[in-house]
């Protein structure tokens, strides 16, 4: 709970590190053939009026790759890549560097993407909640199903927040692939919630004697190995992706890694207690 609030607070105070996809602006990825320093690059680019710009290293050590990020938006921005090419050629020589990638997003589109991104994550979480509710309502009746649904949604919100927090901690940029990762996390993390709820439902049918609490407990224990295993296999591949997939896909892999891990313990430590709490207050 505390972690959630902390992340929320941080989110509103500082704001996540938005990539060009959401903030608008231009990003150029450069690769040099030999050792170059950031001040060198900045000096070369002085001839162009870049406004506020940041230059940072990108990718592995020894790759000599840099990201130049320009916030300014204006009529000339679309030609920025070309201007940069000329300026850098003048200082370093045209064959000593390469523009690997250019991304430019105008402010209107950036805003539109921001809006759609947030909306889709919220919509996905809501949909999952409804799905679980419907799925289990048929077995238990609407009220109970609702509890399952709510528990699942709260666990999902937690997962998303934790992932966002981790991304901010690691200072990764938020771009479209990060939102894609969040949506995948929403879809996947609800899996183990479903499995456990399924088990709870089965046990409730079989074991009539005991209290809800101990039934939930038993169900958790029974499914624990399975949950850890599935997430484990997914983590295996994600680790391969994170380490070997290259810098472009790395934030995506990182988000998925954090999100999946969070998914496991959120189901155990959050969804189930929530169901319990609701039930208790309901029975009272």
């Amino acid at each position: 709970m505390v972690v959630n609030l902390a992340v929320l607070a941080w989110l509103f105070a500082k704001g996540p590190n938005l990539g060009v996809d959401f903030a608008g602006g231009t990003m150029v990825q450069l690769k040099f053939q030999q050792r170059t320093t950031i001040p060198d690059i900045r000096q070369a680019l002085e001839t162009i009026d870049l406004g506020g710009s940041t230059i940072q290293e990108f990718g592995q050590e020894g790759a000599f790759e840099f990201l130049v990020r320009v916030e300014k938006v204006g009529l000339e921005i679309a030609a920025l890549g070309d201007q940069m090419k000329k300026a850098l050629s003048a200082k370093f020589g045209a064959d000593k560097f390469e523009i690997r990638r250019v991304e430019f997003v105008g402010p209107k589109i950036g805003e539109d993407l921001r809006w759609r991104g947030t909306l889709s994550v919220i919509a996905a979480m809501a949909m999952m909640g409804v799905y679980i509710w419907v799925r289990f309502a048929s077995a238990f009746g609407a009220k109970f199903g609702l509890h399952f649904g709510l528990g699942a949604v709260i666990a999902l919100i937690h997962d998303v927040l934790v992932t966002v927090g981790a991304l901010m901690l690691a200072n990764y940029e938020f771009d479209l692939t990060v939102v894609a990762a969040l949506l995948t996390i929403v879809g996947f993390s609800v899996n183990d919630t479903v499995v456990i709820c399924d088990r709870i439902r089965e046990n409730l049918r079989k074991i009539r004697r005991e209290s809800l609490e101990s039934i939930i407990n038993t169900s958790l224990n029974e499914t624990l190995s399975r949950t850890i295993l599935t997430t484990g296999t997914a983590l295996l591949v994600l680790l391969a992706l994170y380490l070997l997939g290259g810098a472009v896909i790395r934030p995506f892999a990182f988000a998925l890694l954090v999100g999946f891990v969070s998914g496991v313990y959120s189901t155990i430590f959050i969804a189930s207690p929530v169901i319990l709490l609701w039930e208790k207050s309901f029975r009272r």
Binding site: A79, V105, K108, I109, L176, T184, L238
Partner: protein, 542 residues
């Protein structure tokens, strides 16, 4: 049971064969000069012959979104309506009416009381595309109407302009020789352009984005250009600039003002063709315009009426040149000279040939990936696929032994089917798409884990092996379906929301889920059913 097994084995073998056929072009075909795959001669025509389409982030290329700026076009349209209305009123002999364009897209019509009814009837009869923007104000002297374009007309105009722009852009791109460009309408006023493998994205952007409105206007030599540039143009005249020379060492070339008559004598819509011609001696290359019949006649009239005056050739409000009209020019040819190099001349001819854009466009999104990054991404993607796959395979065997091996075989088929579906539907593979395939590897074994864990449980609880397998599959199925449905749902949301590479991820994710259910559940079941049917099953390696 045996028959059931055989049928299923046959079905899966057929599927596997189909998959191999779908994937064959990737290995057998060779890419020709336009990027299409060519199959060797013995490959029958009815079999698929397209290699997997790579997304821009793997192939290299540019993705552009252009916004069509409709405001200007709508203003021009209103301006035309204004002159139509003025003419119509004058022809009917109605007096006491003034029509002015205000606030960009509105017409203010001031009518003296006597003429109000007649004006109203004209508006209703001939100008039904106008509707009242504000309620008419009536005073002692007359009524003021404020009209604007009504909604259907605006929408129709918008659609027309965007479609026209799309066609013009398509014409321009056709002349570059990019293989398989994508040019589509996106949303209400955006155009999506994708140019795979483009070598010079800046040139492409320049050509695509140019409004390319060519105008012929007369130069007014009676007014001093320098003065007019400083203090503003006299009524009916405008000041436009041209450049002289190329500029020295990276500095911008000097700008020279011209005073022109604001009236446009002729526009580029009469151009039938535009060709680059080498110039004589010092002149450098120039662009020769070939006008259509109507244009030829019009040009002849203009030149005949204005011999010895200078005519400015203006492109997008830049004066390219302003030669003196020596004599009447028939034959429908004109030429544009300037300080071009051959590349500029060629690009100009492309743009003039394809025609002007009906409204200016602005680039609002660009994603360009160079080919080297694309290649690296493919390598990195494949590496993580191989390593991730190996890890999963090893793990399954280590933990579930025989049953793990069965699951691994199903995994191989899973990937085979996924790749075949991608190739078959000509879906585009992107870097996140590869990540999606890798992720599917990890999630596919999820189903097998569920089943195997259940089987283990049942065996531990004392069931006979055969019924344990039965029970394992039965009990695990609902949970498997649920979890895959939820992930599929988020895949669908991703597909709706995402662009380009993200869509690629959503596609592979969803395809992966479908193939996972088929292979991990049904394929492995075939194996167990076979074992069960073959002989009495005492133990299984699990």
């Amino acid at each position: 049971m045996r028959r059931g097994v055989l049928t299923r084995v046959i079905i899966f073998s057929v599927l596997a064969l189909l998959s191999v056929l779908f994937l064959a072009p990737n290995f057998l075909g060779k890419k020709d000069s336009t990027g299409k795959t060519e199959m060797p001669n013995w490959w029958p025509d009815f079999l698929p012959s397209d290699a997997i389409h790579l997304g821009l982030d793997l192939q290299g290329g540019s993705h552009l979104v252009l916004e069509v700026k409709l405001d200007k076009a709508i203003e021009n349209h209103i301006e035309r309506l204004k002159s139509d209305l003025t003419n119509s009123i004058r022809d009917k002999g109605i007096s006491g009416v003034s029509v002015e364009r205000v606030e960009g897209t509105q017409l203010e019509i001031k009518v003296a009381t006597a003429s109000v009814d007649r004006v109203r009837s004209i508006l209703k009869a001939d100008f039904a595309n106008l509707s009242e923007a504000k309620t008419p104000q009536t005073s002692a002297s007359g009524t003021d109407f404020v009209m604007t374009l009504n909604r259907e007309e605006t929408r129709a105009l918008r659609d027309y302009i965007v479609d026209q722009s799309l066609e013009t852009i398509r014409n321009r791109i056709d002349q570059f020789g990019v293989s398989e460009p994508v040019i589509q309408r996106q949303g209400l006023n955006n155009i999506l352009v994708q140019l795979p493998g483009i070598q010079d994205p800046q040139r492409a952007k320049d050509i695509i984005g140019k409004t390319a409105l060519l105008e012929f206007k007369l130069v007014d030599d009676n007014v001093n250009p320098e003065d007019a540039a400083k203090s503003g143009a006299p009524p009916g005249r405008q000041v436009l600039f041209g450049q002289v020379g190329k500029g020295v060492a990276g500095a911008s070339p000097a700008k020279v003002p011209y005073v022109l008559e604001a009236r446009t004598l002729m526009t580029g819509e009469y151009i039938k063709d535009a060709r680059v011609r080498p110039g004589e001696q010092l002149q450098g290359p120039y662009v020769e315009l070939i006008l259509n019949d109507q244009g030829g006649r019009l040009f002849e009239q203009i030149t005949a009426a204005n011999v010895k005056r200078r005519m400015a050739i203006v492109l997008d409000n830049n004066v390219y040149s302003a030669p003196v009209i020596q004599e009447r020019i028939g034959g429908g040819r004109a030429s544009i000279t300037g300080s071009f190099d051959i590349k500029e001349a060629r690009d100009l001819s492309i743009v003039l040939r394809a025609g002007a854009l009906p409204a200016p466009v602005e680039i609002v999104e660009e994603r360009t990936v160079g080919p080297s990054l694309g290649r690296d991404s493919i390598t990195q993607g494949l590496t993580s696929f191989v390593v991730g796959g190996a890890l999963v395979v090893l793990f399954m065997v280590a933990y579930y032994k025989g049953a793990g091996l069965v699951a691994d075989v199903a995994l191989v088929f899973n990937v085979l089917f996924m790749a075949a579906v991608l190739a078959g539907f000509q879906a585009v593979l992107t870097l996140p798409g590869i990540a999606g395939i890798v992720l599917t590897l990890g999630m596919a074994v999820d189903a097998n884990v569920l089943i195997n864990e259940r089987i283990r449980e049942e065996i531990r609880a004392g069931r006979a092996v055969r019924s344990a397998i039965e029970a394992g599959y039965q009990n695990a199925l609902p949970a498997i379906l649920d979890s895959n449905i939820t992930t599929f749902l988020s895949g669908v949301i991703l597909f709706q929301f995402g662009t380009g590479p993200i869509k690629g991820f959503a596609v592979t994710l969803c395809i992966g889920i479908l193939t996972t259910v088929i292979t991990a559940v049904y394929l492995t079941r075939i194996y167990y059913d076979y074992r069960i049917g073959a002989r009495r099953l005492e133990r299984i390696s699990i």
